[in-house]
Every structure is written in structure tokens, then in C-alpha cells.
Symmetry: C3
Subunit: 248 residues, 3 copies
């Protein structure tokens, strides 16, 4: 289960049923939960001069794919799932079910809720705050410096159920409110109201999300997406969503 070529520090705490791939390095200041799988060529728990000594904690039943790098000092809930070549720096806290796509980079000092999904090649700047059930698509950047370079940090806030489409920048200090949709290739310089669509550069109000129809011939609204899209969420969460919309 632990490949013979994996280099695991004696200080690392690995739960039961943990599998570790070939040529992976696990440093000492790491706690990995039960039934986790770490792919090949990873480096897990990289020591950092920026850390306060707290360990990297990976929840039960997580999957970290090959060539990924995690620093010490972050905490992930159960069922973390990553693509390949993910980078996660110090001081990130995330709830259960976080998905981090291939090549995504979490710069650290972030708070992330439950069942958040980052697709490939997402860049989460320091001091970002992300709610629950958020979707962030490829090549999205969450920024933090209002006049770079400087020592001023104004992280972005993304609330529950937000979806941010590909190749979009969220500028420093912006809040995208619950259920909003940000169109592809946008630059968002102002707060986005709940359940609205914005797009463009600079992004402007387009419509309320509920006016977008599903392109599956059903004639139903595409948003809130939790009404029709359930793949990959826990049964209890889906049951709550189903009952939320049962009467409408």
C-alpha cells in the first residue's frame, strides 16, 4: 500500500488504509486520515519558514493525485479530491469535499467552506474567503492587492452557490454574493448582487440568474443550479436541495 520508493518521514502520522504512490515524499509534520490515497511524485507537508509549526491535516477518504505539492499548516476536511500538480500553500482551512483541479494553486491564508469545486488551473490568492457549494472554473484568478505591488491585502469573498466561469478575474476586496453567476472572460471590479448574472470587462449586470433557461429542452431555469445538478454531492445535501424545490 505504501510504495517501496515512497519516502515517508518517521514523524508523519498516517491513518489506516493509506496508500502512497511511487516516488512520493511525505514530510514529518503531516497527519493523513484513514483510507486516503496519495498519488506518485508528490511532496506532502513541505516545511515552511512562514508556518507556525501546525501540521498539514488531510481528512479521511481523500485523494491527492500525482505531482501535487502541499505545504505544512493547512487543514482539509474529509473527501478532499485533487487533480494532478496541485499546489497548496500554508494556512488554508477547508471543509469536507473540496475538489481542486489539475494545476490549481491555492496561495494560502484562505478559508473554504463545504463541497467547493475548483476546476483545473484556478488561482486562489491569499486571504480569499469562499463559502459552501461554490464552483470556480478554469483560469479564474482571485486577486488581493489593489495597487500591486504593495503590502495591502484585500481578499475576495465568494458566497455560497456562486459559479465563476472560465478566464475571469475577481479584483481585490470584491464580494460575489450568494447564487450569483459570473460569465466567462470577465473582470469583476464591484460587488455582485445575489442571484444575478454579471459579465464583461469590467463586468456589468446582465440579468437575474433565474431567467436563464436550461439548454436541455426542458424549458426549466438553469439556476439555482442546485435544483437540477446533484452529481458528486452527499445524499443528505441533495435531499435537502430536492425538498427545497419540491413545493415550487
Amino acid at each position: 500500500m505504501i510504495h517501496a520508493t515512497a519516502l515517508i518521514d518517521a514523524g508523519a502520522k498516517l491513518g489506516s488504509g493509506v496508500r502512497v504512490g511511487a516516488y512520493t515524499i511525505i514530510h514529518g509534520n503531516v497527519v493523513i486520515g484513514d483510507n486516503c490515497e496519495i498519488g506518485s511524485h508528490c511532496e506532502i507537508g513541505v516545511p515552511s519558514s512562514l508556518s507556525d509549526g501546525s501540521p498539514l491535516v488531510i481528512g479521511n477518504s481523500s485523494l491527492i493525485r500525482s505531482h501535487s505539492v502541499f505545504y505544512e499548516g493547512s487543514v482539509f476536511g474529509e473527501k478532499l479530491s485533487t487533480g494532478h500538480r496541485v499546489t497548496v500553500r500554508e494556512k488554508t482551512e477547508a471543509g469536507a469535499g473540496l475538489q481542486i483541479g489539475t494545476l490549481s494553486d491555492i496561495q494560502g491564508h484562505c478559508k473554504i467552506g463545504e463541497y467547493v469545486k475548483f476546476h483545473s488551473n484556478v488561482h486562489i490568492g491569499q486571504h480569499s474567503t469562499i463559502g459552501n457549494y461554490v464552483w470556480i472554473f478554469p483560469y479564474v484568478v482571485l486577486t488581493n492587492d489593489p495597487h500591486p505591488p504593495s503590502n495591502v491585502m484585500k481578499g475576495v469573498t465568494i458566497e455560497d452557490f456562486v459559479a465563476i466561469a472560465t478566464m475571469t478575474v475577481i479584483l481585490p476586496g470584491v464580494t460575489v454574493k450568494s447564487g450569483a453567476l459570473v460569465g466567462a472572460h470577465s473582470s469583476v471590479s464591484k460587488n455582485v448582487a445575489a442571484d444575478t448574472v454579471v459579465a464583461g470587462s469590467p463586468a456589468k449586470f446582465i440579468c437575474e440568474t433565474k431567467t436563464i433557461k436550461l439548454k436541455d429542452g426542458s424549458g426549466e431555469s438553469a439556476y439555482p443550479w442546485r435544483r437540477h445538478f446533484h452529481r458528486g454531492y452527499p445524499e443528505a445535501v441533495v435531499a435537502a436541495w430536492v425538498s427545497e424545490f419540491a413545493s415550487s
Copy 2:
């Protein structure tokens, strides 16, 4: 020729003259053609629960550079050439001479023609269809979901000889027709007519491609590019292009 540290499953079928770099893993469900070179730190033929059991097939005389990851279940023609840290998921079919630049990510379920060139850091969404002799430049994203997240998939179609410049998004279901040029930093929401230039966000018609002059002092048209640009194509292909323009 096979480095002593390469881990090659007994089931893998390697042709004659295959070279494999240090610390590379080759899984069992893999067929690699003659005279291929696989760089260091790769993982080739990753098993996938999404696969139907078909192997990863790499054509003769291919070069896969270091830190790349290929899943089982895709088929590549001869002379595939990749940069470093390429990711290729299940169910992609590509013709001969495909070039995939460093950090590019092919999400799978794609069809790709002959002598297509992806530069660095290109993201090819699932269900993309790409013709022959296409160029896609860095940080281009081909999307597929018209109202993310959803279960609706509308892949992009890119026809022969198209060039898509850097940092451009092609929105779901769009077709870019033969010989078109999409300018840098564009967002393409509508079909693009053959042999036209579009640019902007949203992208608009700029001109016919033939009106763009080569900036080499010759005063000739820059498009169709196959008239003057032949580097890296097979002799027979270049000969056909030369004869196509000999009379004009």
C-alpha cells in the same frame, strides 16, 4: 534505454527502441510504438474508473516530455510530441503529429485531426472536435457547459487551419470555421465564418484574413498561413500547400 528507476508494468507493450526516463511509471494498459521517448517523472496509462478498458495507444516516433500524465483509453497517431507536465484524460483520439505544449490539459472525449499544434497551457474541454493543421496558442480555453454547473455538454468545433491566439475563450457549442483567426484575449460566443478575423469580448468580425499583411517587409498576405509557414510539417503536406498556391 529504459532507465533503471523506471517502473514498467509487465502488461505494458513497448515497441522497439523505446526509451524511458528516470522515475517514470508506465502502467499495464498501454501500447507504445517503436522509437518513442518518454521523459522522466511521467505517469503513463493511469487506470481510470471512467474507462471502458481500452488501452492508451501512442504512435511510433513519439516524444512525451517529463512530468506528463496520460490516462488509459486514448489513441494517438505517430509523432506525437509533448512539452512538460501535459495532462491527457480518457477517450481522446488524435491523428499524427499532434503537438501538446507544456502544461496543456486535454480533458478527454475529444477528437483531434492531423498535425494539430497546441502551444503551452492550453485547456481543451471535453467533447471538443478539432480538425487538421489547427493552431491553439497559450492560455486558450475550449469550454463545453452553457450554464455551469450542469449536465449539458456542448463541445466546441474548430475546423482546419484555424489559429486561436492567446488568452481566448471559445464558448460552448461554437464552431470556428476553416482558416479563421481569433485574436488574442477574445471571448467567442458565436460561430466564426471561414477565413475571417474576429476579436474582442464578445468577439466581433474585424476583417477577412487575407487583408492582413505579413510584417516581414514582403507585402504579402499573412493568411492563409500555409502559403508561407511550413516548419514542422511533413514534406508531402508542404508540397501540396506549395502547389496549391503556385498558380496564384
Copy 3:
């Protein structure tokens, strides 16, 4: 100090106090200065058919983080510092203190001054010329081909103290003059005047940089940034900047 699994060619010249991580490959045509650290899973000094045989030279006290790939034939001053999975091709010359963020890709044939900082996922096209104390933020692309694909190369020039914000493209042949700021998500098709802000797609003049106030409550100008931002620069450089602004 050299990990037992590191594969170091007998021809490589390593200075005193060099550390090399696990599973890293160092080829023969490499000169690494004193007190350098090379992380795990790197490939350093990749042989290239495009090279003239000159070695890769890494200055003293440099740090190359894990999974990085450097080709032979480039020269770096002291205190080079990279993130993870950096790629550097042939024929780049850089001064002291270059910082190259995670996933950044320097395509080669570039000239880079002193204490330049590339954040994560920056793409520096061939034939770029970059001055001193420049900042380039994530997902910025410096291009070079005015009508792709072609054999015409018009590299970009970035002068001293310029800052280019995230997700911006600089088009071929453009010069961004000293002290300018390019806003996020911009496409720059014309030269940018010194000490001005441009933004948009295509980028337009917004204001002089000195009119932007620091968002730290001080009421001071945010630019020139060297007046207030000194982190990571050598003492002598900072002293010169302090004295430059002491009288104003």
C-alpha cells in the same frame, strides 16, 4: 546534502554547500553556484538540440523548488528563487534576484534584468526583454508573433519598475515604458507611456500612476511603488530608493 536518489551527471559542476532533493536529475552541462538548493523531482540542464553547447549557469544562493525543469544554455545571477514546476528553456540571461513563480514558463531567448519578479503562471514568450525591478502577475502572457503562426518574431519590451497585473496579454512588439502599470485582464496593443496606467481590451490610458492613492489610509500615492514597497530587495537598493524620495 545530496539526496541518495538524486541522479547527478559526473560532468555537472556543483558549488560548495549545494543541496539536491530526492528524485531530482542534474545533467552534465550545468554549473550550480555555492549554497544553492534544488528541490525534489526536478530536471536541471535538459540537453537541447537548439543549444550551442553553453551550459546552464545558476548563481550562488539560489533556490529552485520541486518539479522544475531548466534547459541547458541559460545564465542566472545569484539568488534566483523559483516556485514549483517552473520551466525555463534555452538562451535566457537574467540578473540577480530573479523570482519565478510556480508554473511559470520562460520560453527562452529572453533578457531579464535585476530583481525581476514573476508571480505564478506567467508565460514569457521568446525574445522578450525585461528591465530591472519589474513585476509580472499571474496569468500574464508576453507574446511575440504578430500574425500566428509565422516566422516573424517581435518580442515585447518591459522597462524598469513596470507592474503588469493579472490575466493580461502584451501583444507583439509592444514596449511598456518605465514605471507604467497595466491593469488586470487587459490586452495591450500599443506602447505604454512611462508612469501611466492603462487598462482594458484593447488597453487605453486611464491616468498617471501618481494619482492612485494607497489604500492603507495614509493618503499617499501608491506609485512609484518603490517609495513604500521594499520587501525582498537588497539593502543597498532599498537605501537608494529611500534617499530618492527623502527630499520629496
